[in-house]
Amino acid sequence: MFEIFGIPSQALFGQLLIGLINGSFYALLSLGLAVIFGMLNIINFSHGAQYMMGAFAAYLILQYSGLGYWPALIIAPILVGATGIIVERLFLQWLYKLDHLYGLLLTFGLALIFEGVARNYFGSAGLPYTVPESLQGGRNLGFMFLPNYRAWVIVASLTVCIATWFVIERTRLGAYLRAATENPTLVRAFGINVPRMITLTYGFGVALAAFAGVMAAPIYNVSPQMGSELIIVVFAVVVIGGMGSILGAIITGFGLGVIEGLTKVFFPEASNTVVFVIMAIVLLVRPAGLFGRRG
């Protein structure tokens, strides 16, 4: 047992693991944002509210149908993704040709509406949601006690992130998607239904946010403001990783989770702001982000 900067190594490894687990939430959420921005050129400010809607959907599914966590993991993202598709068809499709700012304003307004409605019906203190039976408890790893649920979070997010990256970067469907973003007219000329692809992509990005929301419900307080606290940090993660880059979002998400975890050990009061300090530095040195492809 040796000490690093006054902290016993055991404690430090525990904090690193915790940081990785938090990073997996950042990675999941920034993945959805990066997909939406990379493919649609829309800055989806309602991502946090959609994350919140996923968590609330899990709670409501439990209340009204008795279905627990595992079915909710599939049903909630589908439900919230469907609302995302409705939003895209009703509002977003008119904004693709306009400046980024309009998409930002619209989605920000939608986020405020979703949050306000949730707060009106459910209050701000939050709703109870517990860890599913099969994932309760944990194991003592020697240097820390790791709850089973947190281990599941890492595994699930890594799987989803890698699967999404693979679909977009390595499959034909992903190739169509990337081509449609660069030159929609030409891709349409080949007979591919571009508007439908775009709608489904937005729905998928929203479903990713809702998936993260269901994963968060057992461990974080299910309250209407749960998304607004998280979304600002996630935006910083996406900016650092590079606004259009899927891989950048994933790697940066995990990396920043670890850095934030270390800050919580050495200088906890700053743990809220360290991500923004890094963002400022990265923007000065590499304005396109660490893995960015476009300015």
Binding site: P8, Q10, A11, G14, Q15, I18, G19, I21, N22, G116, R119, G123, S124, A125, G126, L127, P128, T130, V131, G137, G138, M144, F145, P147, Y149, R150, I219, Y220, N221, S223, Q225, M226, E229, L230, G261, K264, V265, P268, E269, S271, N272
Partner: protein, 403 residues
């Protein structure tokens, strides 16, 4: 000079004669957190409680006309100050009430002192409001960090929790609660092994809970409130803090927090409050009216809502006694001179520092099996009488007390 002017004004006001049938016009501002983490412990519920108090009082005193406005300070001291300034200067508000969030409360207390109006704090906790930062325009109702520390802190040390590790919210309230609880713990013979300060509105406490676990303290003290406390308790259960042999001390827990956690997670938690909706028939009847006054039937009133109701009643009583439109210091002096008596807190007093004194209650959260109806959360463990529940004015450090 100011004191002489103040006394002269007071004399002039009192010399105006009896106020019985005179028209008294009052404007009250309910300043709270309407949209963020403290919105359930204060928020629209405080507005509902204020409406009830005004309706009840003006029913018996038809010569009193009361106007009420409300505002959202969003937990930001600069916004709170700006609203207070505008209300006092432009909207002619006489008294501001509620203000959960100690940072905002301290700012509004300062503004109230400068403008010589009245500020009744129901929501905020920092004992500095009647301590080093006290003034002659502020009354601190409901509760404070000293009372919480003395209630929960001392009780836990007495039952064997003599080493503590604090999880503290990094702003005025958290610091005050940590300071007062550490003092109470040390006075009762325990010791503080360490602390970690987290930003307000933190989602994830796993890192801090890990530090608490490795400290091997017998008690993990949560010097935070609202959503932060809920997250800490939820995640503490996840990390097996209590199963691992450490106890959790929720230093500030409200009925709405227990509602959000669910009894499964919250059972066994020890906490101190000064009012509980299900304690007796009067409180239950009041709660039913509170639901009908616009608070919604799925929530339960907290002691802060009760404090808003009782505080307004006592303020209006003082205004009627004085008559006319006296300045703030005069009204507060009158409130301190009159003993309090309201349906919710019973008989009590306001001491020289502005501290309202009433009994405090040590509660333990019931298990799901013991709870017979929604909102049936607490078992009463002990009653702490008013003279012991709150800090002695001599020890407060308040400049108003010549000690």
């Amino acid at each position: 000079m100011r004191k002489t002017l103040g006394l002269a004004a007071l004399a002039a006001v009192l010399a105006c004669g009896g106020a019985n049938a005179q028209q008294v016009n009052v404007k009250i501002g309910v300043l709270s957190d309407m949209s963020s983490l403290y919105a359930d412990i204060g928020g629209p519920g405080s507005v509902a409680a204020a409406k009830m108090a005004i309706a009840d009082f003006t029913k018996d005193h038809p010569n009193v006309k009361v106007e009420m406005i409300s505002g959202d300070h969003q937990n930001k001291p600069d916004i709170g100050s700006q609203i207070a300034n505008q209300w006092y200067d432009v909207d002619k508000v006489d008294m501001i009430i509620d203000v959960p969030n100690s940072g905002v409360a301290l700012a509004v207390s300062n503004v109230t002192n400068n403008k010589n109006k009245v500020f009744i704090v129901s929501g905020a906790a920092a004992s500095d409001l009647t301590g080093a930062k006290c003034n002659a325009n502020t009354v601190h109702w409901t509760y404070d960090t000293w009372m919480l520390a003395n209630g929960t802190g001392t009780a836990m040390v007495k039952t064997g929790g003599d080493s503590w590790f604090f999880l503290t919210s990094d702003y005025a309230f958290g610091h005050a609660l940590e300071r007062d609880t550490a003092a109470a713990v040390e006075k009762a013979g325990g010791k503080v092994l360490g602390k970690v300060r987290h930003p307000l509105n933190t989602n994830d406490f796993s890192s801090f809970l890990l530090q608490a676990q490795s400290s091997k303290a017998k008690v993990v003290g949560l010097a935070n409130a609202g959503g932060d406390t809920i997250n800490s308790i939820k995640q503490a259960a996840e990390f097996g803090i209590v199963k691992g042999g450490q106890k959790l001390a929720g230093l500030l827990v409200f009925a709405s927090d227990v509602n959000a956690l669910g009894l499964n997670t919250a059972q066994g938690l020890t906490l101190t409050e000064t009012w509980y909706w299900d304690a007796n028939d009067t409180n239950r009847a009041w709660t039913k009216r509170w639901h009908e006054a616009g608070a919604g039937s799925t929530k339960f009133p907290t002691m802060i809502h009760a404090g808003v109701y009782a505080g307004i009643l006592h303020y209006l009583k003082a205004r009627v006694e004085l008559g006319g439109n006296p300045e703030g210091k005069a009204v507060v002096a009158k409130m301190k001179a009159m003993p309090t008596d309201d349906p919710l807190f019973g008989k009590g007093t306001i001491d020289a520092t502005g501290r309202k004194r009433h009994d405090a209650y040590l509660f333990e959260v019931k298990s799901p099996a013991e709870s017979k109806h929604p909102g049936d959360f607490y078992n009463l463990k002990a009653t702490i009488p008013a003279k012991d529940a709150f800090r002695d004015p001599k020890d407060s450090g308040c400049p108003l007390v010549n000690s």
